[in-house]
Amino acid sequence: MNYSIMEQQLNGEYRDAFTAVITYGTLKNYSDEIMTERIAELFDTLLTAQTNGKPVGKIIGHNTERFCREFFEDCSNWDMTVKFLQSLFYMSCITFVLVLLLYLTDRGSAEGARYNLTPCIIGAAIYFIFSAVSNLIIVPLMFKSQKIKPAVWHRISLIVFFVIFITALILGSQTRSWIYIPESAYLICSGAYIAVYFIIRSVIRYRKNGSILKAPEDTIYIQNNREFNDKKYDAIVMKTWKKRYDVQYAKGKTDPGKFIEKLKKNNSTSRKMNILTGIAVISVYGVSVFRFASDGNITATIIFSLICGVICYKIWKFFIGALSSAQTQNDRLISECESSGLPFPEFAEKILKIYFSFTISRYAGSKRSLRICKAIKLN
């Protein structure tokens, strides 16, 4: 769940309270399921309170620490164990793929491939040290300090994590590795854990939601966040385009028709670049698989090409996915502008007004609503 989009919809003391609960829950390591359920409920209550002008104190009281403790009161140690098992699952998936790649690459080596267990031990140490520091130092300090906002404590916790991470890496690299196990043994153990975790998770999900996939309500939260994001994106894009249009129009270089044509052209060029990037990724993938296949082992080549395929797809999706979604939204805005029959400047004003009324309904009377009005130059 994307908490930052939720945070953006709250302001002032409502946002501070929300961030404090998120920081508390994250540092206490509650499972995603618990966090999703509770944070969604709290977000709805705070947003409603903010809209109705109800003081935040009436919702969370005047002692945030007590509120957080009570809010997560019924979460047992089991929930934290679940979170630990979840993290272990994701770590196992990553290391399993990496070790499998190493195993496939090292096959045929005379000594037999062996895997150094030190990184796993370092990883576990980082997890436990960070949990201890969060629980014993950061959380109590966050509630004691009145001057430093919860959002800052969230960032401090990230810095602390990186400091622990880097220190562990440096110490780990200077320590002589002492535990080696055969890669095949590591693959069997982590593979077995991944399989068992996956089966148990599927059974729990099936019993709870009637499907082994993620609960449908998770997608409702995403849809809601997307709706907010889309409107915000429209407003940001329109503001940028309008600014560009005003500058070019003042210089006599454009008119509404020309400007739309130029936008269309820019978007289409940008799409062509996506195709070129796609071709480049596929070429790199093809060359790697070809070089690997030249060794002659068909099974290893199939596994290698599958793993590399997934990695390349994920990389491509990460970089191009966001770009492509922005291009689709730009296309939508351009076609909406054309079908509305309005000249570009008027259409831009209309979109900004839609965002304005959407936002003002959420932040009625707040400083934030005035800031937004000022930002998009509307009264």
Binding site: D44, K58, I59, F67, D74, E217, F228, R362
Partner: protein, 109 residues
């Protein structure tokens, strides 16, 4: 004596009674409790109560979009919840009468 200790026993019954009236949600429950004079009941106290009621199958919840946009959990009472509420009312009357007879004896009044 801390108010929260005193409230712990009766809050579940009160929340159940509010939900029994009609389908409702967290913010509205807090408002109802506040109107009834429970001033210090926030989301922190309410949420664990709702979770317990839900786990014990005394209430059920459905998710729907709120007028403001985010997903909201709407709670309704179950048949088991109705029975439990009736039982709670009877027990509360009995305990309340007993406690009153001790706390506000004629001598004190």
């Amino acid at each position: 004596m801390d108010n929260s200790q005193l409230l712990k026993g009766i809050l579940e019954g009160c929340v159940l009674a509010i939900i029994a009236r009609c389908e409702t949600y967290g913010y509205e429950i807090i408002g109802e409790l506040e109107n009834a004079g429970f001033e210090d009941i926030g989301e922190g106290t309410l949420y664990p109560v709702l979770t317990r009621l839900d786990k014990n199958k005394l209430i059920q919840c459905r998710r729907a979009k709120s007028p403001l946009g985010p997903v909201r959990k709407y709670y309704t009472i179950t048949e088991e919840g109705k029975r439990n509420l009736d039982d709670f009312r009877k027990r509360y009357r009995r305990i309340s009468a007993s406690a009153s007879s001790v706390l506000f004896s004629e001598k004190e009044i």
